[in-house]
Symmetry: C2
Subunit: 106 residues, 2 copies
Amino acid sequence: MPDPSPPITIANFQRLIREMYLEKDLARGVDGTFMWLMEEVGELAGALRSGTHEERLGEFADVLAWLATIANVVGIDLTEAVTRKYGTGCPGCGQLVCVCADAEKP
Amino acid sequence: MPDPSPPITIANFQRLIREMYLEKDLARGVDGTFMWLMEEVGELAGALRSGTHEERLGEFADVLAWLATIANVVGIDLTEAVTRKYGTGCPGCGQLVCVCADAEKP
């Protein structure tokens, strides 16, 4: 079955979340927003342990949304973030397919 | 200053992380991988409290990477996840600019 979801860039998702929530996010601030992220991370843990595929979809989306929200509050461009860190291979070993020792990060 | 980072889709980022780490991720499993996510979330908290812009960029990237890794392990398409939940506006109120009460999620 082909993926029914059209491509969305990281930048467009971050912009969508900004348009939806930035006013509230700024009023709440980083600390309050981080608390929401933590709540969603907990819900993701629950969905990973005992949730359905549908529930997991929702929880992954929520964690991504709260992460984008915090990035918006502190002026981080998520595209720049991931491109710098992972755009040229594993930051540990520099290979596209990581060959770092298992005990090492990542 | 124009953004120097070329657009990257959520799907391409998830695929990049899959190619880089899937073999290790599958061996580690969901629980072990989630522990790494938590470590990175802690480092993000530290960078938000007292880190530089550069350090924050790195920590946001790492949290996104570990989230993508867990999604790969459990077969979740992050594009599908965010499109379903946020593609038609705030899941709470249905508006593009959220009008949910402040005490409500999100």
